[in-house]
């Protein structure tokens, strides 16, 4: 009997619990749905912003991949290029090529007599047109004395006009092109001598004061050299430190202090590392300023803490049972780490390394301090050549007043992003490769 009342009691309680749960169920479900909705909205908003950003950059950058060229009938006149008849390469290299383009233009527009007008006629062509002629002649010396139709780059203002980025309808005083200049261009267009071509210059040359001559290649090589130095130093040092600290170092006050310091270093503003680099690498060790070597060293200091922290947490996340298994059959500490722990921690370490290197690629502040912000025309050929890097190049172009640099800034951003995506893609591939080996 007493047993039965107890049973009733407990089953009563069971019903009550059930009812209470049921009553609260609606609230719980609503909370869950709300939370899901917030998350979804956040993702959509994030994607929206990203699309807007990319859309804007691509829209601006698109036109930079094309450059306007004009076809001129150039006579490689021996009396201009080689008045002494020496026929040697050195002589031809320093000849007066601008005179050739001036002659061709004058032949095409005989009505232009005024000195000032003549000057603005010649200004339609890029200052790089003369170099282009020199290149063409060097490639084919047989052209000397002949007349040839050659496509030459136009000045950035003309380029902007052809691309529709200079408004023809506003007053002459408010734009960079005179009315008669526009008339000459229209005449050239009407005769089919103006064409937009792929902007090879942008991908093959270094910086320039003239937008149509400026290219991203110098900055790209600078970034590449800098990253090579950063990667070659920070990856082995960072991963070795992480392995030592995590697997071999005794746990005592010293290692605690080191750990705290590494965590603090990860939070130091990057420009401070730039100052450090200036003081130590350039002033004390006397390394060449503006060089990828110094840039790479500075970025190594900056990325090391990030890589060490990520690598340590990757090592920590390897289940201890694997370590025990290896130690239990008599593997030494080092064999345990290198045969079993490291392969499992590799994907996590690579992720950390990617984050660190991506940060290094996008960094500009510390590099300003060590002179990588200088105007450098030559494409760097080694680690000690003066150079700049992509983000600094973007900063420099964004700061320039010429209209042609606007689209080139966006194009440079695209190149930087492409570099980043390539790098990350490579790292993701490597990670997948390691993961496949379980």
């Amino acid at each position: 009997m007493s047993n039965r009342t107890e049973e009733n009691k407990s089953s009563n309680q069971g019903i009550r619990t059930h009812e209470i749960v049921k009553a609260g169920l609606h609230r719980r479900r609503a909370a869950e749905i709300r939370f899901k909705a917030y998350g979804f909205i956040c993702i959509v908003a994030g994607l929206g912003f990203l699309m807007a950003l990319f859309g804007n950059i691509i829209a601006h950058a698109w036109s930079a991949f094309e450059q306007t060229y004009v076809a001129l009938d150039v006579t490689f006149d021996e009396s201009v290029l080689d008045p002494e008849g020496k026929h040697d390469a050195a002589n031809l290299a320093s000849a007066d090529y601008p005179a050739l383009t001036k002659r061709s233009l004058a032949a095409m527009f005989p009505e232009v007599k005024d000195r000032l007008e003549k000057r603005s006629l010649n200004a339609l062509l890029s200052s790089g047109a003369a170099y282009e002629l020199r290149r063409v002649l060097a490639k084919d010396p047989a052209l000397l004395g002949k007349t040839e139709r050659i496509w030459l780059p136009v000045d950035d203002d003309v380029d902007m006009l052809v691309k529709g980025q200079i408004d023809r309808d506003i007053g002459e005083g408010d734009r960079r092109m005179k009315d008669y200049q526009i008339a000459w261009i229209d005449k050239l267009i009407a005769s089919g001598r103006v064409e937009k071509r792929f902007n090879k210059q942008f991908f093959t040359s270094g910086d320039s004061r003239e937008p149509e001559m400026a290219g991203i290649w110098g900055a790209l090589m600078g970034s590449l050299f800098t990253l090579i130095v950063t990667g070659a130093l920070s990856l082995p040092i960072g991963i070795a430190s992480a392995i030592y600290l995590e697997e071999f170092a005794p746990r005592n006050r010293w290692t605690d202090i080191i750990e705290v310091n590494i965590n603090n270093l990860a939070a130091v503003p990057s420009i401070v590392f730039g100052l450090l680099g200036l003081a130590v690498f350039i002033n004390f060790f006397g390394l060449p300023r503006s060089s990828p070597l110094v840039g790479g060293l500075v970025l190594t200091l900056m990325t090391l803490p990030v890589i060490i922290i990520a690598a340590r947490s990757a090592l920590k996340s390897v289940p201890p049972s694997i370590r025990e298994a290896a130690l239990g059959i008599g593997a030494s500490q080092m064999q345990t780490v290198f045969h079993h722990v490291l392969p499992l921690a590799m994907p996590g370490m690579l992720t950390g390394a990617i984050i660190g290197m991506a940060r290094a690629l996008g960094e500009s502040a510390p590099l300003l301090m060590i002179g990588m912000v200088a105007f450098i025309v030559d494409v760097p050929g080694s680690l000690t050549d003066p150079s700049t890097v992509l983000p600094v190049q973007i900063y420099l172009w964004a700061d320039s007043s010429e209209r042609g640099f606007v689209e080139r800034t966006s194009a440079a951003i695209l190149v930087l992003l492409a570099f980043l995506i390539t790098m990350n893609g490579l790292a993701v591939y490597l990670r997948k490769h390691y993961e496949r080996r379980w």
Binding site: E324, A325, G328, G330, A331, S332, H339, W438
Partner: protein, 278 residues
Amino acid sequence: MRHPENIPTSASFSRDHIQTVGNIFVKDARIECRSVDVFYGEKHAIQDVSLDVGRNEVIALIGPSGCGKSTFLRCLNRMNDTIPGCRVSGEIKLDGQDIYAEGLDVVPLRAQVGMVFQKPNPFPKSIFENVAYGPRIHGLASNKLELEEIVEKSLRRAGLWEEVKDYLRHPGTGLSGGQQQRLCIARTIAVNPEVILMDEPCSALDPIATAKIEQLMDDLREHYTIAIVTHSMQQAARVSQRTAYFHLGKLIEVGETAQIFTDPRHQLTEDYITGRFG
């Protein structure tokens, strides 16, 4: 330490009796432990334990959770070294050699004293690599053929060969729980140790897999000394010749398995075996 042998009734030692009951010594012991104390930081996990482990015997270590039996087991191949803050004092001798002697390398010790863990922990590599790893790092095989022989022999002894012989290149982690544990045993015996420590090897396994592993232990006893920690008293009774009962870090009672389970002499042992707690 030694107690009069002529005690007639069971449970003749009260719960307050703190000295080990029963004969801790065996003739020609493989492992001799004397006054072993283990500390985890401030915690005194094992208190003054002395125990011998004989040759070709299976000794079962039983006791309630947290009584220190696993800790004691891990002392025998110095796996406790990996736990920060763990300190071991006293003397543990393997074949007369103090394994806690200063400057002793743990690598040969662990090759001599293998270990199987509670949770099957195969390496995330192929079945072959799992078994071949130990012989390879110790240089037990001079060529590939020898290595393959060792692997096959070990898998056969672990009773796994027939099930996996066609899948040697498949990942060891893809096997079932019982197969994984037998793979771990194969991995341990591939190094040809003299002593095998097993820390609750069947706690994650179903009865069929458990029966296979118990059968395996019986076969292995011929060549090896086995110390097993188990929560299952039936298992201890089935596989072991001697049993040691631990309670709160102390070794309470040691004796022939049959005697411990039928005629425990310490009140705490009797409480545990009869299920009054634990």
